[in-house]
Subunit: 234 residues, 2 copies
């Protein structure tokens, strides 16, 4: 079971730290943003599974950000939990109308936070795209969890599946081993860099049915790159 990524959006660092501790105890992966702009960038880049959004932000109000996210097709399914201080109760209904999926009043217990978060995550289902990811003949369907090349089913382990998912949504771009560890293994893990090589190899092997064994290219001195081009330009 891969751990979910939670994006914490709050302008006060201490608050973020507190949230991070609580969430990491519960085995969630955390990323943080101090303002709406950062938050937005991270949402596109890291695709978190849920956003913890403070009511008050320096640049744009939390409500406004929530509204934007819900309006954008790409992020509409992303669950949002609003945080607000006691006394701002009036805003509750407004917040919910805006599209927040739940609402927590500060102060709250870590347990409560995690419980609510779990509930929201569960009913929300995966925030990952429902559309199959493709590269040429290669198709990865996140819904059925299937990979195929042409009409051939491709079998691989969970880690290779995640790796391929990442590559398919970030094609034509070189990544270092460290970056791959961050994105695919989920950061904060103590794993040798060379381990990436091994998994790359396993993925290559899995994809090597038919002539299609050039999907993953080695970028010497850097890392790897996924590309649909299969022929070498000689």
């Amino acid at each position: 079971m891969d751990s979910k990524t939670i994006l914490i959006v709050d302008d006060e660092a201490p608050v973020r730290d507190m949230l991070r501790v609580a969430l990491e105890m519960a085995d969630y992966r955390c990323i943080e943003a101090g303002n709406a702009q950062e938050a937005h960038a991270l949402i596109i880049d890291e695709r978190p599974d849920l956003v913890l959004l403070d009511w008050m932000l320096p640049d744009v109000s939390g409500v406004e950000l929530a509204r934007r996210l819900k309006r954008d097709e790409l992020t509409a399914a992303l669950p949002i939990i609003m945080l607000t201080a006691k006394g701002e109760e009036d805003h509750k209904i407004k917040g919910l109308e805006t599209g927040a999926d739940d609402y927590i009043t500060k102060p709250f217990s870590p347990r409560e936070l995690v419980a609510r978060l779990k509930a929201v995550l569960r009913r929300a289902g995966p925030a990952t795209p429902e559309e199959p990811l493709t590269a040429g003949e290669l198709v990865l369907d996140p819904v059925s969890h299937r990979v195929s090349i042409g009409d051939q089913a491709v079998d691989m382990g969970p880690t290779e599946f995640r790796l391929l998912t990442f590559f398919l949504s970030h094609q034509e771009r070189a990544y270092t081993r460290t970056q791959l560890l961050d994105h695919v293994w989920g950061g904060n893990v103590y794993v040798e860099e060379r381990t990436v090589d091994v998994h790359i190899r396993r993925l290559r092997k899995a994809l090597a049915i038919g002539g299609h064994d050039r999907f993953i290219q080695t970028v010497r001195g850097t890392g790897y790159r996924f590309s649909v081009q299969t022929a070498e330009k000689v």
Copy 2:
């Protein structure tokens, strides 16, 4: 014309009794549930034509249950009337947004209840599919509560039946154990995840007559997937 079945969901027995009396006077058949979990099971088993849903429930809020029902294709067409106490008016909008088909404020007269109920029933089509669910040779008839493969009758327990019902209406999609617990057991239940494995096994065993033992596939690291296709080719 046989009388419609109404599912009453409320945690207070006196309220349920009251509603039952009113409805049976009007010649409806009633079944009752005191919490969301019971309600969920009854919906699959008894296939009511309409649900009377109290706003407040002990385990899950009524809104939450309603949202789940509307989200699941299998029960999306099932009409829901929300009951709420006076003063909870604020929730009205939210309740309707959630997908409730009508909304009644307590206290109300039996006559009003029946009138609204009739109205909702009139404009609603058949609540749950009358057609059998199928996958290849496998047929599940929700009306007669029978399962067969080819001309072989298949026998299984209630939980396996619900599980299969769910799978048949959500084929080709991988589900985690947690999701299955939510959808088949009815969420907010305290049940070990591994219990799912056991029921999967029981269902597999039941379906294993003839060569057809590949319906349920294991998605390693994730959960299970129902598919009529064999795992090998896509």
